[in-house]
């Protein structure tokens, strides 16, 4: 079992994903779980962007001195633009479900909510 060699940007993005998964697994407060999911999402977005990066090239906005040969891959950036918006939408949905749960049970602790449900 050898340690795989990955770039620093990949490492940062992967650590964000892992930190988020840790929060989802360990935390009991619903809001903290939702924040952890947002952190996972940020990590995935960062990973996609860094996969599209090409060393020494500039943002894909063609202007003076930046032709098609000097720009990075635009497709991951377009995909991430979509992913961010969908992430905002799903987070808003999840938060409103959390608000409804709090109004019904008076707590955000998932273990207590599970116990009260019966």
């Amino acid at each position: 079992m050898s340690v795989p060699h990955i770039g620093l940007y990949y490492f940062g993005a992967l650590s964000l994903v892992l930190v988020g998964i840790y929060g989802v697994l360990v935390k009991k407060n619903l809001l903290k779980i939702l924040i952890s999911l947002s952190i996972v999402e940020t990590g995935v977005n960062l990973l996609l962007i860094s996969v599209g990066y090409i060393t020494g090239r500039s943002a894909p906005i063609l202007s003076e001195g930046i032709g098609p040969k000097q720009a990075v891959d635009p497709i991951p950036q377009a995909l991430v633009l979509t992913a961010i918006v969908i992430g905002v939408a799903t987070t808003a949905m999840a938060l409103s479900v959390a608000i409804t749960l709090y109004e019904k049970y008076g707590t955000l602790n998932i273990e207590e909510i599970r116990r009260l449900r019966g």
């Binding site: 620093l8 090409i54 894909p60 635009p74």
Partner: protein
Amino acid sequence: MVSVLKRSLAIITLLIIGYWLAQGLAGVPFGQDRMLVGKYYLENVKAQTGAVNAVTAIVVNYRGFDTLGEVTVLFIASTGVGALLWRRKKKRTAKTEGSVVLRTGSELLFPFILMFGTYIFIHGHLTPGGGFPGGATIATAFLILYMAFVDYEIPHRLFEPLEGLAGMGYVLVGLIGLAIGSYFLFDWIWQTWHWGAANLGRLFSGGFIPVIYTLIGLKVGTELSGIVDSMLTEEVRE
């Protein structure tokens, strides 16, 4: 004891997942040229769409139908938030007014935040940004007003029709393309008349990208402000 066990189990799981992901990523070297489709887009974006920003050209022009779906997802989410938090009578119930700094600052900055958001979505085909970040910036301006004043509410009578009209405008632009050209979301401003071919890289270029991004910016701004409103108002019982 249970907590320690749970935590160590979580960390072991994370190590396994992390090793597995890193193993996969080790085969994807960082910073190398792996473009396939992207190369085509970069080489043809100026001639085919009239925009200089390849990212927004892909989002609005090449994959405009996807973006229409994205706007629909956002609309459904906002409707879902409204439905989940629907009450017979809703009002602001916040009790503490914002501090002097927040109140003065929000009144002072509100028009400038609106202007910056508008700038972002109008210049979507030239600079980083576009309709979605611009709309989010506009919603931030309203969020700050909600934070600063206990009885502020967005103008519902203006925002709800505007949201619907902006969404319909997007479909309408696509249908005009269907009537003039041959397919839905055909770029009729650029492909048929080449409007703005003389000033590439300036504001009046980019075909229908600025038109659609203005509509998206208005829609996203009103929609996110609506989400903020339905989360910050609470039920009042008589």
